[in-house]
Point group: D2
Chain length 347, copies 4
């Protein structure tokens, strides 16, 4: 089955693998007459780009997006928007040694089982380079709804977490540090910890929190296409994500109804917001917020046992330049997927 | 937009609200020639039915399913399977007092905002009676893949939880107690706690864990329709669900790569299974397991402040027979949604 | 694959076979707050019903539609509308002799090849009784766009055809005769011809023309979901349809550009309308009109050679009460499918 | 709404307009492990290319396809296949005079009404250059089912038509003449006629017949996604198409059941094939054949009256190099769309 299209009315279809000629996609269902800010789109790609700081992978990739269609005189025409990002820094030779090896907790084994065939160069389609297309699509989506504010940030790395509610944070600080954590004291601890992890040749997981403000009431289509169900699917489709919770989330499962219910103000807003801005699968106009769990990157600079295609045990160690922690670069991806979901309901 | 169809190849389309004439649906894409066990389908409905035990709502509803099409001489024909469950015990008069009131943390306010109009009888379409159709669809899905074993159970109620890995549990005990917890000592504590909560006129949240065994490797369609992304959407679409995690889940976000990676055995199975049976969005043949968080039921037997349509503050208290804790009855619903997801990939 | 859902935003999912318990469906994506005229829906079903006149099948079927959900206090709620029509006059015994026989030019052979299994009672799912659900869905669709006028009528039976442009016809005469032909002189000839055909134990094909007025400009989604492509698919999905043409149709293929081009009036309307109200796949505000070809009914009251499942040649003759010509009863079906297409673009 | 994706399991998503940087698309759902013959794909594009013969437009366009992803070591990987064809010979300046003009029977007016905005360069997205992507997608589809033989050919130009059944034709002659008509005497008449039409500054319509052989029984999904309904939609989505008929088509509407029924041979094949290889919406293993009507090209080299955006009447004449008759170049497009439909059911 085809699985590379996201959305119903506002749709993103993507293609491209780690070491192919290019990554790209098609945005379909975009309204006409929208003046696209191409620098803003490139800015989002730059936030995702490898090599942007000392705590992420040091691969150098330009990741410049080129638009091929759907825009005329700076405005969308209503026709599909095709785009490509060339893969410029891909050395397939780096991966020859992986040809017959299944790396632990990567997608090598499952792709081989499913497709009977594997593009072993850097993960192929299972590589996180695929998310370039998501970021481009999401950046366009953001521009369709300028009133909506989507702010994602790193809320934990390993055991280090922000111990404040998001309302106490200044989102404008997120981009001021390499970790993308708006609580600067915590950010510093996270950064030091990531450096330490990298020195040990290891990797570490983390969480991203996303807060969406100024969403009008009424988005979401019960019963299966509830707003949070679509957000959940969107987040879970990002590489390395293991969990999603919104509003009270897993904490809500420990609470009583008398403490969990969000009482109304006369204007329809609520005093508390454990609902996370969504009730019955439909936005209620309050802030939408959710949290996404990322596992540690599977490629580590330590010797591990693994197997080859024929079931022979062997030892291997990660090579090259990999992220010790994926969450700083995943922040724009989370925002992009959130924007795609909202635009699909709003368009 | 339409939002009442689930699945692509094996599809369930549902209809029905709390106090309409009937709940029902259409299963499309079912292979032909399958001998359906109708008693097994009714059994799943009975597991979901109100009034089945002392710790759930005492409403009496027969919930007998009738099949209208798609089956001939006991076998599926490949034509769509229509089914209905009559609503027999619905007294609309019970809800007249709610006509203009928005109950806290229900879908009353958002349905009114979205549709400009509200079926105020028992939650209308937002009622959990809607899940009857899911259970019927899921029961059919289960019969398409008899080799796959789907076992959901209550893993926590409030702060009480099973403190063992699922491998230490005997799933055959799940149905031996009213809470549907296979750890009997924990089950007893949960049951007592729920009784206590009900006495206090309150409600309590909980979690359900689901373990799926004997799933072949190869299910899931990268990049957007990853197996766990579809499972996540399926679970999040169930009423009252606030979170979903699979494999290591949120705990995985605190771990290092060196401890999180699942090392291979020579036969391709893995020594640990923090991946939760899914790598790169595709099943790897190991057990799939995930956890779902349910918030406490919003209807409580305590006086709460709320508002009416015109923004007037008023006080109200829940009436009637409601569940003090939703998770025991949600177990078959979680299983049904899991079955629908798997059947859609397997068919 | 599932193939029983029509539409994207306004969707009809249907179920039911000739001799099952009921025919029915689910309309999803219907806007809320629409006051449904249930008599108007039943009226459309009555137009389709067997036994309504001397020139159609004399089977007596009540075909009363019952709505199960989605409507509250006479208005749509935005929830899916489930409906059923009981099968009351079905005698399965009538078809026992067909159990192992493939009737010529029916779907018996292909259903058996596809599904490995056949509901031999009256055609099962391939029976035209399936169109009951289309008529109900279309009747709802019509009510969503009261300004749009959809008029279908019989334009030919065998070699007899209306030799006037549709603009010369009075559509209010369509329902005044059993053939549903608004040109009364032609209608009389058609009716006599159909009576003659029936006497001979034979059947005859025909065409239906449909004219849609007051459609706003702008409907249709290039490039694949062009308005006429969706109309064409809708019509071709009706039993017995062999062809579809719109605007100049097959005649247009014989014309020169200089005679085919529709020149503009200053207000954007066109002097001629060989485009059929659609240019580049998008409605232009002019009348949309198209023609649909129906083959003769395959069941004839004459002895024919055929085969059984095992390839044995045998002779058989149609039994029971069948339509000598399908087009009079297909008129409301054509209108219903047109309404479903338009509503999907308009909603 | 998005309308630029075709298919469900085997899906083609396209982008690109006449004078953008490139035309391209994404093929998703392609099985893995297929050795693609890239020259065969380019060959199909060459059949569609302008400037290939004396009777088509003399524009020179290279139309070389480049594949960006989804193929590794010459084989498909199961990942989406992205491809682009650069637009090399596009002079936007040629179209400046059309900026505010609506050309008769083009999509200028409707695009403006729908999108409020128009890419006036050469038709923008409504240009037939869009079909490049269809041809690439279809060429891949053909390679997935090498046993299926798809042969389209020009069966009429204006009033000139092949007066033989397709069984009397030698399809290998189709590519031996510029018209793509396998009946050489007719081909010569057509070619002369087209030259004459061009001299007069006019254009002419025509029809294409397509014959598909070796299709297994069982393709097609009743009731809405019948095989011929999908073929019909596919053909009607091609620019300039006004009608579609399969099997007996519109002639069948004049016939009696006793002459129309296809009687069986003992092996399940039929003596006649007025059904056109499809019964009840499902292929029966006989040849599938259908006919597609194309209107004359709207751009003529004669002075015509038209209007501008403000409703001012003006006179204009076509400029540049246009096809006097579209059907010779449409033959590979018809085949491509047929291949896409079949592959979607076969994959």
């Amino acid at each position: 089955m085809a699985g590379n299209t996201f959305g119903k009315k506002f749709r993103l279809t993507t293609f491209g693998e780690s070491h192919g000629l290019a990554i790209g996609g098609v945005v379909d269902g975009c309204p006409s007459g929208v003046s696209l800010d191409f620098e803003a789109i490139q800015y989002e790609l730059d936030r995702r780009r490898p090599g942007q700081s000392a705590i992420v992978t040091q691969r150098k990739e330009a990741d410049k997006v080129e638009f091929l269609s759907g825009v005329f005189e700076g405005k969308t025409t209503g026709a599909p928007i095709g785009f490509v990002v060339q893969n410029t820094n891909q050395k397939s030779g780096d991966y020859e040694h992986l040809k017959d090896v299944y790396r632990p907790s990567h997608a090598d084994y499952t792709y081989d089982k499913k497709y009977g065939f594997r593009d072993y160069r850097g993960g192929g389609r299972s590589s996180a380079r695929e998310t370039i297309s998501r970021v481009v699509g999401g950046a366009i989506a953001k521009q369709l709804m300028p009133e909506v504010k989507i702010n994602a940030f790193v809320s934990s790395v390993g055991e280090i977490f922000i111990d404040k509610p998001y309302q106490a944070l200044d989102f404008s600080l997120t981009e001021t540090n390499d970790v993308r954590c708006p609580d600067l004291a915590t950010a510093q601890k996270m950064e030091e910890y990531i450096r330490q992890i990298r020195k040990e040749g290891d990797t570490i997981g983390g969480t991203i929190t996303c807060v969406i403000q100024n969403v009008p009431a009424g988005l979401g289509d019960p019963v299966f296409d509830k707003l949070h169900a679509e957000l959940g699917k969107a987040m879970l489709s990002i590489n390395a994500v293991k969990g999603f919770e919104y509003g009270s989330g897993f904490c809500g499962a420990k609470m009583r109804g008398s403490e969990h219910n969000d009482l109304f103000n006369p204007d329809g807003s609520t005093k508390s917001n454990l609902s996370g801005g969504i009730q019955g699968g439909i936005s209620n106009g309050m802030d939408i917020y959710f949290r996404v769990a990322f596992k540690p990157v599977a490629t580590i600079m330590q010797m591990q046992q693994t197997i080859d295609k024929n079931g022979n045990l062997l030892e291997m160690q990660g090579k090259g330049r990999h992220d010790p922690c994926v969450v700083p670069r995943a922040v724009p991806i989370v925002e992009a997927m959130a924007a795609l979901v909202l635009a699909d309901f709003l368009v």
